[in-house]
């Protein structure tokens, strides 16, 4: 399997010691073409910092990031062509319809008008967004806007697709549709990095789970192997066992329940 994303020894600190935060502390991660890797961790575990370095928004202190053979640290402009991103924050689509926003991103990323239109139609249909496709974003629910943001990342996927909490606010039915689309993107050859708090999402969609805590990788295995090796009943049990039963773990579990 071709490796699309290779992260080696990544370190990133915000602020000087002793007050600062070591957001990533020697992270190693590899994602092959066609793989979906779930990045799991509590708030402040270093997930978003990791993603920001991959997509060229933050500069690592140490370590290497290679994206489809390109040094993403030295050549962030080129790396941006290879990665499509659904950010955790809302996308700026007020005033646009979902259809128009997906179409514009697809064409900005280099898709032909006809190809992007076909892909946009497919995504609107696959995510059951039809009724809201031509409604301006300020009139749709948060979940629909989130699905539109996912479609914007999926319409012209790069070698790597980064999805940061894609199912936040999404109803259970469409969440499953979205998971199916993530799998489809991977089956077409993209590597997918799925950042999530949702352990069930990780269990359902991903090929491998990477659990991050205090900027370090605690585990990087298939969900099945993790559960079996820890003799646990579920991935959630493994997660809580690994990150501890402290405040962070309780927060994460509560978010999952919510």
């Amino acid at each position: 399997m071709d490796e699309v994303l290779v992260i080696e020894g990544l370190r990133k600190r915000y602020g000087a010691p002793p007050k600062g935060v070591q957001a990533n502390d020697g992270v190693d991660l590899r994602i092959g073409a066609g793989q979906v890797v779930g990045l799991l961790g509590h708030n402040g575990a270093g997930k978003t910092t990791l993603v920001n370095q991959v997509v060229g928004l933050a500069l690592p202190d140490e370590g290497r990031i290679t994206l489809a053979g390109v040094d993403a640290v030295a050549r962030p402009d080129e790396a941006r062509r290879l990665a499509s991103v659904q950010a955790q924050a809302n996308v700026p689509i007020t005033g646009l319809t979902a259809r128009r926003a997906i179409d514009l991103v697809g064409r900005l990323r280099g898709g032909s008008r006809a190809d992007v239109r076909r892909r946009t139609d497919h995504l609107l249909d696959a995510l059951d967004l039809g009724p809201w496709a031509d409604v301006t974003a300020q009139k749709v629910s948060g979940g629909v806007a989130r699905l539109a943001a996912f479609a914007m990342a999926a319409v012209a996927p790069g070698a790597l697709v980064v999805l940061d909490e894609p199912t936040n606010d999404v109803d259970p039915v469409r969440r499953r549709l979205l998971w199916a689309e993530i799998r489809r993107i991977a089956d077409e050859g993209a590597a997918v990095l799925l950042v999530t708090h949702n352990v069930r999402e990780a269990e359902t969609v991903v090929d491998r789970v990477t659990i991050l805590d205090h900027g370090r990788v605690l585990a990087d295995e298939t969900p099945g192997d993790l559960v079996a090796w820890h003799g646990a009943d579920s991935l959630e049990d493994v997660y809580i066992e690994l990150v501890g039963s402290g405040e962070h773990a309780r927060d994460a579990a509560e978010e999952d329940v919510a």
Partner: protein, 252 residues
């Protein structure tokens, strides 16, 4: 459906698509923004008119032409930082920065939008000033160039402020700039009225050269663009463009 090989659209096409994006995003507020700019320009003229009564001819020329500069500068130095700071707070600016779009193209789309928003206010401010103070305009063919350079420089400075300072500080700075530009910059009155130290400072700041450029192209038979102002404005234009582009490239 197969994965697209990513070869981003050519820069000119990306510029068009981004402009379309930004216009549609602002479509709800665009008429209001334009109206506010027009009101700002016209009320600047009328407000100063109330303050000074019937001004002598040279002062009338400053008042009549000052509103256009104020409008362009306000959009760039005040509205741009506020909008960009808001986008930073929401996180949407970071998402835009993940798109495979060269930073100058990204900046160009925003600057074109801000310039277009400022244009109606600029034109109506000049018309109102000329009518109110009975000023005869003699427009130079360089007027569009001057307006674009002033708008570009102001917006780039505003962009850099918004990207480099924390969002709340950027918004605060933009508020302070309103008063500095309106009351303590030689835009609607000659620099000689300012205290010596401030007059000297304005020789190195961009607002006075901006006002000089607009005056020299709106009333070209009475004013010329001083060489010093040309050089200072050019330096600010280049420096602010570099700073704005750098601030968009900057990684945390």
């Amino acid at each position: 459906m197969s994965t697209l090989a990513i070869h981003p659209a050519p820069a000119a096409r990306q510029l068009g698509l981004l402009l379309q994006w930004q216009f549609r995003r602002m479509s709800q507020f665009l008429p209001l923004l334009v109206v506010v700019q027009i009101l700002l320009a016209v009320t600047t003229v009328l407000g100063y008119g109330l303050l000074v009564g019937t001004p002598p001819p040279e002062q009338a020329l400053y008042l009549a032409t000052g509103a256009s500069t104020v409008t362009l500068v306000m959009v760039g130095l005040v509205m741009t930082p506020q909008m960009v700071a808001q986008a930073r707070t929401e996180g949407s600016l970071d998402w835009m920065r993940t798109l495979p779009v060269p930073r100058p193209v990204f900046l160009g789309a925003d600057l074109a939008l801000w310039t277009l928003i400022a244009l109606p206010g600029m034109v109506l401010g000049v018309v109102a000033g000329a009518a109110k103070f009975h000023v005869h305009l003699s427009l130079s063919p360089w007027l569009p160039v001057a307006a674009i350079v002033v708008s570009l420089t102001a917006a780039c400075v505003g962009y850099a402020i918004a990207c480099l300072l924390p969002p709340q500080v950027a918004q605060l700075v933009s508020q302070v700039l309103v008063f500095v530009v309106l009351l303590f910059s030689p835009v609607s009155f000659p620099a000689s009225r300012l205290p010596g130290w401030l007059e000297h400072a304005h020789q190195w700041l961009p607002v006075q050269p901006m006002a000089d450029a607009m005056r020299a192209t709106l009333v070209s038979d009475r004013f010329t663009m001083p060489l010093r102002s040309t050089l200072v404005l050019a330096a600010w234009c280049v420096a602010s463009l570099v700073a704005a582009t750098w601030s968009l490239r900057k990684r945390a």
